[in-house]
Symmetry: C2
Subunit: 198 residues, 2 copies
DNA sequence: ACCTTTGTAGAACACCGTTCTACGTTACTG
DNA sequence: CAGTAACGTAGAACGGTGTTCTACAAAGGT
């Protein structure tokens, strides 16, 4: 459907597509989700607003592409925890998750905030999100296999960890943290998870 | 500032204010956050759009009033756990939290979704949110005093619980749950929290 | 070389939050 | 009981949004 090269027509250069997503990311970081308008992105990419509709269908398609990149970044950030010790690997994974959210708050908010449940998610978006989640499932399985975590369905366990970690990061980003030191509270959360799932 | 009766002028009947918030809640439930427009609310309340600005300043003031009601509802839902056993009281509190979110998904999404960190929160809104959180802190303190939870700052512990519970509910509402039975996963989360904080 | 196809540009439409201006309606004042 | 000043209201209007429409220019196939 979106594969234009299959029609035999001229390749739509594909570079403009990436330029639009790049521009959208810059606008998102600079002006927040509220400032992410079709006109602003098109102007940032030096393209007519119509280009967004030619390549992404509508605004949702564009933000879906941006969100897909966000999930890819989240996957990369949490997947590069290569510690040999399974507990260390999980801890690094959890710390990288928070670091990603704090480094890219606009992305994170858009990825999990409003507008997700509303708009029907793109297939690519779902794939990226699943890949990011799978990275966590793998690390949980690694820990279970080595006896660092109690046996059980890795998916269930990963979902449980994800819930807690996402909640903590989400509340911290929203400014709803009531603790003095968010970083210390987050470490305590990770430790509690390890204790509770031991 | 908003206390009109102090000026000696005619009382703005106050009923219209509530009628507007009532209408806003109906529109929110019916059409979602995206359909919550000033015109739609005004029409639902049989009032001119200008009434919103006279009584709430702008749209954010109106949604802040709706969100304040939402936090009051959340506080009421989680505070009516009167079990004698401290563990049961915490469990009931956690279950009621999820029930509130599932019963009022639009409210919950608006309360913790985008638009919170962006708009400057009203004082009443902060008060309601703090009251809801305090209900949890009280229950944690109750459990700590009776030895059901390990000693520690009740605020830190409550924040930790809130993070996990909010994360689970938030992901479930967003449709990002990857487990077969969300209710069972939530129960497992609560149990894990009790284990980890024992 | 022609023609079809395709992306582009800019105006245009409906809707949004918000503001402005004219207009009752109400409550205080002499 | 007038007169007046303040106040909330109604409706149009402004800038901005997502989206669509219509004409136009450029590239590929025959």
């Amino acid at each position: 459907m979106t594969d234009v090269s299959a029609t035999g027509g001229r390749t739509p250069s594909r570079a403009v597509e990436q330029a639009l997503v790049d521009a959208a990311e810059r606008v998102l970081v600079r002006d927040g989700l509220g400032g992410l308008t079709v006109r602003a992105v098109a102007a940032e990419a030096a393209v007519a607003p119509m280009g967004v509709y030619n390549r992404f269908g509508n605004k949702d398609g564009l933000v879906a592409a941006v969100l897909a990149r966000g999930f890819e970044g989240l996957r990369a950030a949490t997947a590069d925890a290569a510690d040999a010790d399974p507990v260390d690997r999980l801890l690094t994974c959890g710390r990288n998750y928070r670091r990603f959210a704090l480094d890219h708050p606009q992305h994170y908010g858009a990825m999990f905030g409003a507008g997700w449940a509303a708009a029907v998610p793109t297939e690519e978006l779902v794939d990226r999100a699943n890949a990011a989640f799978q990275a966590l499932v793998d690390r949980v399985g690694y820990a279970v296999d080595r006896g660092a975590l109690r046996p059980g369905d890795p998916v269930d366990t990963a979902q449980l960890i994800w819930s807690s970690v996402h909640g903590a990061v989400s509340l911290e980003l929203a400014g709803l943290g009531r603790t003095a030191d968010p970083a210390a509270s987050y470490e305590a959360l990770l430790q509690m998870l390890l204790d509770g799932l031991r």
